[in-house]
């Protein structure tokens, strides 16, 4: 059951570009990435696009489909009317390299600023013990496939290039929260989350949560608890006093 799909795909590079009109034959059950691939194989051999797994697991093929940030491999053509023209543009928050490929190095730079896990020593038998219920919160955040769609829709940086320096974005608030909730980690990153990552700039509009293809409750389960922990550290006089006397669950501030 094939039909001709009308597509508009943004073609260009950092110096500028425009939407190109294409008609491509597609099959029942296909996704937007299939249509892009067919374009590439038959009409536009040099159409630049990132993809890897084509199963929603690697987070490479992020783009904006009819203006909505999506993974192209998980966007089914059957969600659209067959007569409808589908417009595919690169994600907007990051600079275009070429066509649908953007420069996402911002995210890799921010990743370098998060101090890694530093666990307590192993038990005498050489193993470590953590309860399932205690790892589950972190596990939710570690489902993140780094598609960076949350970063793409975040108001703080989407149209504010100037904020990128001081703001790490939802993907990395997830990371801070994950490490803060790790049962055996010994680093205290709350000051860092506030100062270097700028978690205070987030005004919890939940756009990141809505767009997450993994369904991670970024705002409710990661950002808000992390904001609370940061605030605890700063303003609660008892905690403040406690921190002077005894470190919070034996963590070291980094």
């Amino acid at each position: 059951m094939s039909y001709d799909l009308k597509m508009r795909v943004w073609r260009g590079d950092s110096s500028g570009g425009a939407l190109g009109d294409y008609t491509v034959e597609v099959e029942e059950g296909e996704v937007v990435l299939d249509a892009i691939h067919r374009l590439q194989a038959t009409q536009a051999g040099d159409l630049a696009v990132r993809w890897n797994c084509k199963a929603g697991k690697c987070g490479s093929c992020s783009a904006e489909v009819n203006g909505r940030p999506r993974l192209m491999c998980m966007t089914r053509l059957s969600d659209f009317d067959q007569q409808e023209t589908i417009t595919v543009t690169p994600v907007r928050t990051f600079p275009v390299i070429r066509d649908l490929v953007t420069d996402v190095s911002y995210n890799y730079e921010k990743a370098k600023q998060v101090p890694a896990a530093k666990l307590t020593p192993r038990d005498p038998d050489g193993k470590r013990r953590m309860m399932q219920v205690d790892v589950e919160r972190g596990q939710e955040f570690r489902k993140c496939i780094e598609c960076f769609l949350c970063q793409n829709v975040c108001h703080v940086i989407r149209d504010h290039e100037e904020n990128k320096q001081a703001f790490a974005g939802p993907r990395f608030f997830l990371r801070y929260a994950e490490l803060d909730m790790h049962p055996l980690d010994t680093n205290d990153r709350r000051k860092l989350a506030q100062d270097a990552a700028g978690i205070g700039m987030c005004n919890i509009t939940k756009c990141c949560t809505e767009v997450c293809p993994e369904g991670i409750h970024i705002t409710d389960n990661a950002i808000i608890p992390m904001k609370e922990r940061v605030v605890d550290r700063k303003y609660d006089p008892v905690t403040w006093l406690g921190s002077k006397i005894r470190r919070r669950d034996q963590r070291d501030e980094v």
């Binding site: 797994c53 390299i97 399932q132």
Partner: protein, 625 residues
């Protein structure tokens, strides 16, 4: 992504990546010096880079995609390691035995031994670096059942273990400050006096060339699945490392053994081939044909009869009582299950879309399925409109893994070329004729670490007498890479040739093979190699997928020829190689490796094949069988 080391020429650079921003070719080459260059950023590449860094080497990781997107991310089930967290009677000897038997004794015994011995510590190391595995009730790392493994042995995180592994290694690599060259493809490895001296690559972003001066190169490039039509593998799986090794003078073994995973999605067409994890069967899923029969009971081979349940009652009992029941036949090694499914479909007992049914809906409650198999639930719901807690899945074989790869020394992972190492799927020997599920992720960690250490020590032993990159080789590498822009007459489209190659391999070198078809395949591959001399691309060098494919495609052609040639030579059926005209395993073939080399050093040169005796297992290990 940041680049250090010496550079020559050049002006404008990307502020964050350090990439050269112009794509002109007259500004000289970008040049970096390292001790060890690791090609590939999947589990084995990153583990190798970490190990080489820990051993004091200056290391670069060079990868075709962004960091964290490598194919390891797709691994679902888990990491096989005899930690004994659920079954204290499990140990490396049992794991070793399972691995050898799964590979039908064609494995390099030493690799299988090292793998079984070192896997548990490698898993604990991941935990050290931040991985959050699922837990047992006692708080230890949980272990799950998988095909061919006697005990529940796979450390896992739901059904997204590969993601956890890649993220953990990625984060550790970043924390150590290892240089990563993302979206950078290596096209040639340089030699000087028979030893590795460096590598040649291009930035995908700009098309600019990069020269690495490095006495040690670790190949960690994964597999070859993209040469087949129906595959669980991504675009990156074009056998780059296999081909680079051959072009550098190294040898491949076991290339006739290609694993077709028994359960890939079959519908809709867009997702055909995408993996359905073996965990579905490990967690209770049953395979059924269109008549509703659990057909696997009809396909229990003599070799595994003693350890496989022969009645539904016993099979059902196994999930709760493994001591008094034998394992269900659904959990036979992958080659057995894939062949059985293939036969059922051919006999007309398949599902509507040409697969068979995999049913967990009627066997486990919805809550259990969603907790144990979240990715599968999500994948079927989103891509096929199938709710796996309510209805059976349709599944069929999909090209998943190549057992064959670069012939390496078991302890050091060095190929026959000094300074050239191979690890993970691109290395051969470890899995023999068939790999057990879960043994891949552990393989990446165990041998990744070994390769990294040994590459670093190798460089250390050179004591400053580093081989150098020859300018004439650089010129030739650049000319070869740019050739597709020069073709004016009789231009061939790389996408078309890739599609034709996939058709040939799927049709003639698939699960079931026979002499005439393999001979035909070799003729067809030859024709494609001829056409590939005229590969042409449109546009310019900046992020041009057509050009990238034109380069990768030559690797696919070499590797496909190796597979077909070895498959024609091996006149028996064993593991991932089934000959319709030689349906039984043959003991004399059980002692032989087929070794492939490329005489001319160029993709258009023919592949040479010779027989070589298998390394002999020492007596104390033989006693385990």
């Amino acid at each position: 992504m940041t680049s250090t080391g010496s550079t020559t020429g050049g002006d404008e650079r990307h502020p964050m990546t350090g990439n050269r921003m112009d794509s002109r070719d007259d500004t000289g080459y970008e040049r970096h010096a390292y001790d060890v260059v690791v090609i590939g950023a999947g589990g084995s590449g990153l583990r190798a880079a970490i190990a080489a860094h820990d051993a004091g080497a200056r290391v670069a990781v060079v990868c075709k995609s962004l960091l964290g997107k490598a194919h390891t991310v797709m691994a679902e089930g888990g990491i096989a390691a005899s930690m004994g967290n659920l079954y204290p009677e499990d140990n490396w000897q049992v794991h070793f035995r399972d691995t050898m038997r799964g590979g039908k004794m064609l494995n390099n015994w030493r690799m299988a031994q090292l793998h079984a011995q070192e896997a548990p510590e490698r898993v604990l190391e991941l935990e050290e670096w931040g991985a959050l595995f699922d837990r047992t009730p006692d708080g230890l790392i949980s272990q799950r059942d998988f095909g061919g493994h006697r005990y529940a042995r796979l450390a896992h995180v739901g059904d997204r273990t590969g993601l956890e592994m890649i993220r953990t290694l990625q984060q550790h690599t970043v924390a150590l400050g290892i240089d990563v060259f993302m979206e950078c493809t290596v096209t040639d490895i340089f030699k000087d006096g028979g030893r590795v001296s460096g590598a040649f690559a291009y930035w995908r972003e700009t098309g600019r060339f990069v020269i690495f001066d490095a006495p040690a190169v670790v190949l960690a490039t994964g597999g070859i699945g993209k040469s087949y039509q129906v595959t669980s593998n991504s675009w990156e799986y074009t056998g780059d490392g296999h081909a680079l090794a051959m072009k550098t003078g190294a040898s491949l073994i076991n290339m006739e053994f290609v694993q077709f995973h028994p359960t890939g999605m079959v519908w809709p067409p867009s997702v055909k081939g995408i993996l359905v994890t073996e965990s579905v069967r490990g967690d209770g899923g049953a395979l059924k044909n269109s008549e509703g029969n659990r057909f696997m009971f009809d396909y229990i081979p003599e070799y595994f009869k003693a350890e496989t349940a022969d009645s539904i009652e016993e099979a059902e009992g196994w999930y709760t009582d493994k001591t008094n029941n034998r394992r269900p036949p659904e959990l036979l090694p992958r080659d057995e299950v894939a062949r059985a499914i293939n036969s059922e479909i051919k006999a007309g007992r398949g599902s509507p879309h040409g697969g068979v049914f995999l049913d967990i809906a009627s066997r486990r409650d919805a809550e259990f399925i969603k907790r144990r198999l979240p990715s599968m639930y999500h994948q079927f719901k989103e891509l096929a409109d199938v709710d796996i807690t309510k209805e059976p899945m349709e599944v069929g074989p999909t090209c998943h893994y190549v057992m064959g790869g670069v012939e390496v020394d078991a302890d050091t992972e060095q190929s026959i070329v000094p300074g050239l190492y191979a690890v993970g799927e691109v290395a051969g020997g470890m899995h023999g004729s068939n790999r057990l599920g879960g043994n891949s992720l552990s393989d990446l960690l165990v041998f990744g670490r070994r390769a990294g250490h040994n590459a670093a020590y190798y460089v250390h032993r050179l004591k400053g007498e580093r081989p150098s990159v020859q300018e004439s080789d650089v010129r030739r590498a650049a000319e070869t890479a740019l050739a597709p822009f020069e073709i004016e007459e009789g231009a061939e489209n790389p996408y078309t040739i890739q599609k034709d190659l996939q058709d040939v391999m799927q049709r003639l070198v698939g699960i079931i093979r026979k002499r005439e078809e393999l001979e035909e395949a070799l003729v067809e591959i030859d024709k494609l190699k001829e056409r590939a001399k005229k590969l042409a691309v449109e546009g310019h060098r900046q992020y041009n997928p057509g050009w990238h494919l034109a380069i990768d495609l030559t690797n696919q052609l070499i590797v496909s020829e190796c597979i077909a040639k070895a498959a024609l030579e091996r006149e028996e059926s064993r593991g991932g190689h089934t000959r319709d005209d030689f349906p039984a395993a043959d003991d004399s073939w059980g002692q032989v490796n087929l070794v492939l080399t490329l005489a001319g050093g160029d993709f258009s040169a023919p592949v040479d094949l010779k027989r070589q005796p298998l390394p002999v297992m020492p007596d104390d290990l033989k006693e385990l069988f």
